[in-house]
């Protein structure tokens, strides 16, 4: 994986997330979740394929 151990494990779409989304976004929850899922999939796929490394190696702002 491209992500360092400093990052929290990525969320998996599931029931819990669905309920959270509903509470936050109401009737538009499905639309927002759809857009977010597509974006996250693109990000995951690009990271798998390109194996990007963090720049800078050490965070500028801690």
């Amino acid at each position: 994986s491209c992500r360092s151990s400093a990052l929290p494990p990525s969320e998996r779409p599931g029931e819990r997330r669905g309920a959270e989304m509903k509470k936050l976004y109401g009737v538009d929850a499905a639309k927002i979740q759809g857009m977010e899922t597509a974006m996250q999939l693109t990000f995951d796929r690009n990271c798998d394929r390109k194996q990007p490394k963090y720049w800078p190696v050490i965070p500028l702002k801690l």
Partner: protein
């Protein structure tokens, strides 16, 4: 001003379509028309154009860096219309290539 990141969605909404000056950390200042404020990161999306019909420049100030947001000019119907169309994808482009 209450910390920018602590505002509620309806409060962020009040800035949409208005011209603002954002003061950010390390003494940066940016102005532009507010397209939106991300409710997750509190990042502000500012749009500016050099001239009517010209190229639009989009600047996003990350929510954690925002110190102050000052309204410079109220939005008009025209601004709202123009801003609404700024990110309309040409030809119905979708997220995945």
């Amino acid at each position: 001003m209450v910390e920018w990141r602590q505002l509620k969605p309806l409060e962020w909404c009040k800035y949409v379509n208005k011209k603002v000056k954002v003061t950010a950390q390390e003494k940066h200042q940016y102005d532009g028309w507010v397209f939106t404020v991300d409710p997750v990161s509190a990042s502000i999306v500012l749009v500016t154009v050099q001239e009517k019909g010209g190229t639009a420049t989009v600047r996003v100030v990350t929510g954690h860096a925002v110190l102050e947001v000052e309204v410079l000019q109220e939005g008009s119907e025209e601004t709202a219309c123009w801003l609404r169309d700024v990110f309309t994808p040409p030809g119905g482009r979708i997220l995945s290539p």
